[in-house]
């Protein structure tokens, strides 16, 4: 791997195939392959965790073993993949020299910094200029958190999960597993047992976080799984916008990614969570790629609001349902999603909106783009509990087909247990028409530009929910991801 230090994000995105498929040559501290109680203990020991956390991990581990032995790996999703050999995965891969958290950027492996630069992550000074605080998770370990000092003055905590365990154990103890307990599902149990790092953010009461917080995830080591855990707590009346980006190198073997994200929005607070997921999607022939099994859920208390926005273009398999428990009265949940599959990618993604409080309101806008031989499924659940007087949901599911070998599926579940609820569900399926393409081409756009314009236009309702810079990146990503599907 040559050491190219200055590739801008723009040039990375300028076209061609998967651009993030480089491998960094960094010495890695690997635990042996396979999953056992010992590995769980080793991870916990490496992190110098308190006993209560080790015990929690072990409970999760034994729960997972139980699920595994009962073959409880979920099979209801419309995805097809070879059985995952959980003993053939590295559960801990840390770049060497990071078991001590770097005190400053000077302590970080230069090769790693170069990797992040290639990814276009504004670490160092660029972070300040861009107004973004970045927590970069490389394989399993959080490398550096920028702008910590500036945020600290406002009482905002933004750090790696490991640091949070050390420095803010009370907050972790209080909220860890409070929204996604380890018993939640197969992958959540796995994550709880072996998560090695992730991000933590806490916004104190009444504070509006002045910058966007961002975590950048990257899987580097071959055959390693990534199991990060993110916990964001917005205290009463707080506001935070959080961004998450993901890439992985080009590998012919598949990689497992099983993350958990928990959001806690206390009374009158708001959390806006945006994701651009661009894990390696596998080759054109469907070799390799990331298996992305993610559990994301938020709890919204009284008058609180949680908004998920996601642009999913990567991964060979996506299994992901960012959800909101609308617990408090007048709470609001939103889900805006664009999921694109090309070649042999399969996505089964959607959301759950669970209305518990009175006058709760949720909005779902899910857009699926299928190209190549891709399979795209929207799976969503809207649940109105008996006490949820006057709950309102609006759901809109749109599918767009590019070519004639792909497929799109919509699976909405609606459960209403209170007669005052008002629910609307709209769904549409369309194709990029020859008329649309010719119209744009007759004005001077190439076929590829025309496709791109039609698709980003079609996705606009979702993309406009992203912070500005992310929106540009998302539009570019849709373009790059569709290459080869067109023409």
């Amino acid at each position: 791997m040559t050491n190219q230090n200055t590739i801008s994000r723009e040039s990375d995105l300028s076209g061609g195939e998967y651009k993030w498929g480089f491998v960094s040559d960094i010495e890695t501290d690997l635990a042996p392959k396979g999953l056992s109680e010992d590995i769980v203990r080793l991870i916990s020991a490496k992190k110098e965790e308190p006993d209560w956390l080790l015990q929690w991990r072990l409970k999760a581990y034994w729960h997972w073993v139980d699920l595994f032995e009962n073959e409880a790996e979920p099979t209801w999703a419309k995805i097809d993949y070879p059985k995952i050999d959980y003993q053939d995965i590295y559960y801990y891969a840390a770049p060497k020299g990071t078991n001590e958290a770097p005190k400053s950027l000077d302590d970080v492996d230069p090769e790693m910094l170069a990797t992040f630069e290639k990814l276009g992550i504004p670490l160092q000074e660029r972070a300040v200029l861009a107004g973004v605080a970045v927590d970069a998770v490389f394989d399993s370990v959080s490398v550096a958190t920028t702008m910590g000092k500036q945020l600290g003055e406002l009482g905002i905590i933004f750090c790696s999960f490991s640091e949070a365990v050390k420095n803010h154990p009370d907050l972790i103890k209080k909220y860890l597993g409070s929204v996604v307990p380890y018993t939640d599902n197969f992958f959540a149990a796995l994550n709880a047992a072996v998560f090695s790092d992730g991000s933590f953010a806490y916004i104190p009461p009444g504070v509006r976080c002045p910058i966007e917080l961002m975590t950048y995830f990257r899987i580097n080591t071959e055959g390693s799984g990534q199991f990060e855990r993110t916990l964001i707590v917005a205290d009463e009346g707080a506001y935070v916008s959080y961004l998450e980006g993901c890439t992985a190198p080009f590998r012919k073997t598949s990689q497992l990614h099983a993350a958990t994200v928990e959001l806690v929005a206390l009374d009158n607070s708001e959390i806006k969570y945006s994701t651009i997921q661009n894990w390696f999607p596998g080759t054109k022939d469907g070799e390799g790629g990331v298996y992305n099994f993610v559990t994301k859920r938020g709890r919204a208390d009284k008058n609180a609001k949680i908004s998920w926005t996601q642009v999913e273009t990567g991964s060979a398999i996506t299994w992901k349902y960012p959800s909101v428990i609308l617990k408090g009265d007048n709470s609001v949940g939103e889900f805006f999603s664009v999921a694109l599959v090309n070649n042999h990618q399969q996505a089964d993604t959607g959301t759950k909106m669970i209305h518990i409080g009175k006058n709760t309101k949720s909005t779902i806008v899910a857009k699926g783009i299928s190209a190549g031989k891709g399979s795209n499924t929207y799976r969503g659940q809207v649940q109105i509990m008996p006490g949820a007087e006057n709950a309102v949901n609006h759901t809109q599911c749109d599918s767009l087909l590019v070519g004639d070998e792909c497929s799109a599926h919509t699976v909405p579940y609606i459960e209403v247990r209170n007669p005052t609820a008002r629910l609307e569900h709209e769904a549409s399926t369309s194709k990029v028409s020859d008329d649309q393409l010719f119209y744009l081409m007759a004005r001077g756009l190439s076929e590829e530009e025309a496709h791109h314009m039609i698709i980003t236009g079609w996705s606009r309702d979702v993309i406009k929910e992203l912070p500005f810079e992310f929106a540009l990146e998302a539009a570019q990503l849709l373009k790059v991801s569709l290459e080869g599907a067109v023409g």
Binding site: Q436, L440, M441, A442, G444, S446
Partner: protein, 255 residues
């Protein structure tokens, strides 16, 4: 500027589907040509073939634009060389704003010619001017391209594109016999205001009505894929009076 010789065209992948059966046509700089003909004569096909619609296949003949054969060029390459097709039924494209679309169209033209792209500021100014000139509702151009536009609004939007892109040859496909007077007037105003010694027009139409507002230099009658008669503006009036019967009979059709 445009020379069509013995042009034959069929629908792609359909046997015996020849629609154009030997078209000959020469358009000089600054001229306005009207192509008239009964339904199914191939008028709309001709307009689309000239612009390079992939649904049609040219089986014989040549089309030369400014000395260059264009039959091997894709639609966007023809657009870059100054050709324009105003559509009979412009496609609706959700989420794409006319502003963004036109900027992209201009940019790709500039890029193909190795010219600098127009700055956003300069383009915005130009766009606003043209929006006013064409009389299109300014709130409309903030919406999705053609989506929910009335027939007249779609026509205005086509004329807006014509004004911004400033092509050297504009082909107007107005075959629809159902165009209302309003829409006809919008198209005519667009053509008349853009008429110049440097720019030519081919106006494809079924009825003479449109030619009440546009005075063509040359009128062609197209029947069964061939131009059967060429004349001056009076020819259009003649057709208005007598219809296409005579031509259809001559072409051996059951009129």
């Amino acid at each position: 500027m445009l020379e069509i010789n013995n042009l034959h065209a069929s629908v792609v992948d359909i046997e015996n589907s020849e629609i154009l059966k030997g078209i000959n046509l020469k358009v000089n700089k600054g001229e306005v040509h009207a192509i008239m003909g009964p339904n199914g004569s191939g008028k709309s096909t001709l307009a689309n073939v000239l612009m390079g619609r992939p649904d049609y296949e040219v089986t014989a003949g040549s089309v030369v634009f400014y000395g260059e054969s264009i039959l091997g060029l894709r639609a966007e390459e023809r657009a870059h060389r100054g050709m324009f097709l105003a559509f009979q039924y412009p496609a609706e494209i959700p989420g794409v704003r006319p502003w963004q679309f036109l900027k992209a169209a201009l940019d790709s033209k500039a890029e193909s010619r190795g010219e600098d792209k127009m700055s956003v500021r300069a383009f915005s100014k130009l766009f606003d001017e043209k929006v006013e000139a064409v009389g299109i509702n300014p709130t409309l151009v903030k919406r999705s391209l053609n989506e929910g536009f009335s027939g007249g609004e779609k026509k205005r939007n086509e004329m807006l594109q014509l004004e911004v892109l400033q092509p050297s040859l504009a082909i107007l496909d107005e075959t629809d016999s159902g165009l209302d007077v309003d829409a006809l007037r919008i198209v005519a105003e667009g053509v008349n205001s853009m008429r110049s010694p440097e720019r030519s027009f081919i106006v494809v139409t079924h009825y003479q009505r449109l030619l009440n507002y546009i005075t063509p230099d040359v009128v062609h009658i197209l029947v069964k894929g061939k131009i059967v008669r060429t004349g001056g503006p009076d020819l259009a009036l003649e057709v208005e009076k007598d219809g296409y019967k005579e031509y259809l009979a001559a072409a051996g059709a059951n009129a």
